[in-house]
């Protein structure tokens, strides 16, 4: 790693940086230095700001949907507006938040640091990915401003072909966001193959990188199919090609096959990075070496590959043939096993550890709790007989919120708090962090556990007006969603406060052994003073605690750093 003219290496340099002297944040000034940066850290921070804003927007839609469902008939909006609200909630949350959240924000920032590298392999492609994200987001925004779209985030034909709302803008937005996702995935695969430091073989790599690798494989192999699906949908609406439109001899089920061939692997794009963060957090906060490293790494790849075999379980009742139903149901159960193996390995990691309850660990524990529910309720939907009753009911809504929100978002928050000192060189307030985590956990369970019960009683999904017997469930769920929103406001508060007046963070506040903690917080724009050689990422004996201000330092001071 020929380091390119670093500032004069001296004892004071690291300390100076720690005070935010010449970190990547202060290295260059002005808007242009941010918009056209090639620095993976800046791109990661820009993605973070964009994803959090989209999360806020999606959250607003969610609150409007929940408020509308407070009473059966009209509460605040008309049926059409409600349909647009839940569609936009789905589209914004999935395309703008969940797909890019962990790979593009934490992944972009942390992956090169974990490799001891200066940047991702293709920095210009990385910047292009962010610019495409912004363009795609602008398209979605344009769709919202021109009256929104009311097809559901799945754009099922023939409804999406016949409705008058701005479907084309939304699909083009998703089409462009697809390329942003492909570029991130492509970048990570090339970086992981070509830029690993000395001493880091494939099986001495942090598990977050394994899960980002598996995610990148899915992003590269599945997203193009979404691209062609949306392109055909736009061609269907503008040119009337009639491939999916039964009125012109097409077959709407073919659209569902095309759509779900991407969209099921997409849910694994969302959950795999969350599992990667989970492995890091559980190991560090239990002060224990990760248990079953190989099995966790292989299960990431297994989830990525099996994820492509199961898309038909979204179409059990839509007229799919019996043979295909049987095959997809069988394969769906095979994909549940690797996730279970991971959860057991995390538990085994905690055995005989010394578990600290900092905010990241609270989110890691919440992840195990919520993802267990999310995963297990998938069994009901994988079995054919029960899926006939439960499909397209609130049981499914609760299931995917437990896996997507309870899984990806909770792990994202855990990762955000864990790497926050590394991102901005500041500590956040632990006390407020715990309060917000509690609010989010309580609010989430109140919102979505009631929906399981509602769903099994037969409450169909996407209903603007529902039978009065379901009113208590909906009202409990709406109260829960408000507690959830409160939790996020508290979080926004103390994180913003930490940016301005937060306590300075040392290079290694949590005592982790991965390479990103070997450079200052926030890191200099060239990442590392000198070439890094990687040891075992989970050997926590290589660091020892000095003080809260100094954090953890390499156990044998000066050697091997």
């Amino acid at each position: 790693m020929t380091s390119v003219n670093p500032p004069p290496p001296g004892e004071g340099a690291a300390a100076a940086l720690a005070v935010g002297g010449d970190s990547y944040l202060s290295h260059a000034k002005g808007l242009r230095s941010w918009i056209f940066t090639l620095d993976h850290k800046r791109i990661g921070v820009m993605y973070l700001v964009a994803v959090l804003t989209s999360f806020f927007l999606g959250g607003v839609f969610a609150l409007l949907v929940r408020t509308e469902l407070w009473t059966p008939g009209r509460t605040i909006v008309s049926a059409d507006t409600y349909n647009k609200l839940f569609t936009l909630h789905g589209a914004v949350m999935i395309f703008l938040v969940l797909i890019p959240s962990i790979p593009a924000t934490i992944g972009n920032f942390v992956l090169p640091l974990m490799l001891g590298a200066k940047d991702v392999a293709l920095p210009r492609l990385n910047l292009a990915s962010f610019h495409l994200y912004v363009v795609g987001a602008v398209f979605l925004l344009a769709a919202i401003l021109t009256g929104g779209v009311d097809t559901g985030w799945t754009f099922y034909t023939p409804y999406s072909v016949t409705t008058g709302t701005s479907v084309i803008l939304t699909t083009l937005g998703a089409f462009i966001l697809g390329f942003s996702s492909i570029f991130t995935g492509l970048n990570f695969i090339v970086t992981l193959h070509k830029m690993r430091p000395k001493g880091m073989s494939w099986f001495r790599m942090p598990l977050l990188l394994w899960s980002l690798y598996a995610t990148a494989i899915i992003q590269v192999l599945a997203t193009p199919v979404l691209g062609i699906t949306l392109l055909l949908l736009v061609a269907e609406r503008t040119l009337g090609i009639g491939i999916f439109n039964p009125a012109l001899g097409g077959d709407p089920l073919l659209f569902q096959h095309f759509f779900w061939f991407y969209s099921h692997p997409a849910v694994y794009i969302m959950i795999l990075p969350a599992m990667g963060i989970e492995s890091e957090l559980i190991s560090v906060f239990s002060r224990k070496h990760i248990f079953g490293y190989n099995f966790i790494a292989y299960s990431s790849i297994a989830i990525a590959v099996f994820g492509f075999l199961v898309w038909g379980h979204h179409m059990f009742v839509s007229g799919q043939s019996g043979l295909a139903n049987m095959i997809f149901s069988l394969l769906t159960f095979s994909v549940a096993i690797p996730s279970a193996v991971k959860v057991f390995n995390w538990l085994a990691t905690m055995y005989k550890g010394s578990i600290r309850f900092d905010t990241p660990m609270l989110y890691a524990l919440a992840f195990i709790f919520l993802f267990a529910i999310g995963g297990l309720t998938g069994l009901f939907l994988g079995a054919l007989a029960t899926d006939v009753h439960l499909h397209d009911t609130y049981f499914v809504v609760a299931h995917f919120h437990y896996t997507m929100f309870g899984g990806t978002v909770i792990a994202f928050l855990g990762g955000l708090h864990y790497w926050w000192p590394k991102f901005f060189g500041r500590r956040y307030s632990e006390r407020w962090g715990k309060i917000a985590a509690l609010l989010v956990f309580v609010g989430f369970n109140l919102t979505f556990f009631t929906q399981f019960v509602m769903g099994s009683h037969g409450m169909p999904r996407r209903y603007y007006n529902y039978l009065p017997q379901f009113t208590p469930y909906h009202q409990a769920s709406t109260i829960g969603s408000y507690i959830l929103a409160l939790g996020f406001f508290v979080m926004a508060g103390y994180l913003a406060h930490s940016l301005i007046k937060g306590e300075r963070a040392p290079a290694n506040p949590w005592g982790a052994a991965t390479l990103e903690w070997r450079t200052s917080s926030p890191p200099p724009y060239y990442n590392f003073e000198h070439e890094m050689t990687a040891g075992d990422p989970y050997d926590l004996d290589t660091v020892r605690f000095v003080s809260r201000a100094e954090g953890w330092v390499p156990a044998t001071e000066g050697a091997g750093s």
Binding site: M1, T2, V4, A117, K118, D119, A121, L122, P123, L125, I182, L186, N187, I189, V190, T191, H193, K194, M195, V220, L221, A222, T223, P224, V225, G227, I228, T229, L231, L232, A235, E236, L239, G240, I241, G242, I243, N245, L248, G249, G250, D251, L254, H257, F258
Partner: protein
Amino acid sequence: MSTTSPGSESGHHDPHLAHHFENAEQQADSAKLGMWIFLATELLFFSGLFCAYAMYRANHPEIFIWADQFLDKKLGGLNTVILICSSLTMAWAVRAAQLGRRRALAILLTATLVFAACFLGVKGIEYNTKWKHGLLWGKYYHPHVEGAAESGAAPVTAPPAAAPDKAAAASDGTEIPPAAEGPAGLAPANAPAHEIPASAPKNVQIFFSIYFVMTGLHGIHVIAGMIVIAWLLRRTLRGEFGDGYATPVDNVGLYWHLVDIIWIYLFPLLYLIR
């Protein structure tokens, strides 16, 4: 490695080495791996269309056999040969770039552009004839050409409303209208594969939808390829690629060959249907 040609990067010892790479070989490998993964996404992008083609051909072979008579096999074959020639000149150009022969590289790139333009020209002719005969996609399909005209212009459809009566007659057991039994395998095992059915089968517009989407998207990729090759040509004429640094030319060559491979599969699937 220390030729002094004007490097595009900052002027340290190797003109093409980006700051975050250890050596040129790592950079070239990264670029090539990135390109191969991009080709993988292109392949999957087209797989959607091949899947739609396979589904409609497996389930409605009669449409494909019937519509095949309107495609000009000679023009299709000519186009295939044109693209193969453009692949040759492109591969040759990559070789010239690797050997640092800038003049040969410029000529070969121009030749590739010329072949690509010929391909699009032939494509234009084909589209024109179809446009004239109204053999278009989806709702614009209203054939007025001797082959299809007299045999039922718009496909006669079984209006759903009439079907209920037949379907509802449970007592006298008249079955629901017999369905077109699609053969299980890809090939139309039991369909009357050989003689063209006298009257046009229903939904023939599906074939033309698939034909135009496949060849249209392929055409767009040919145009994109031409733009990138033109950009390469400009850089060559401005003096780059003289020192054996050929990664951009190599990658564009890979992309161009993939576009050729996709056409190699499109030609038999669309033009040579028996």
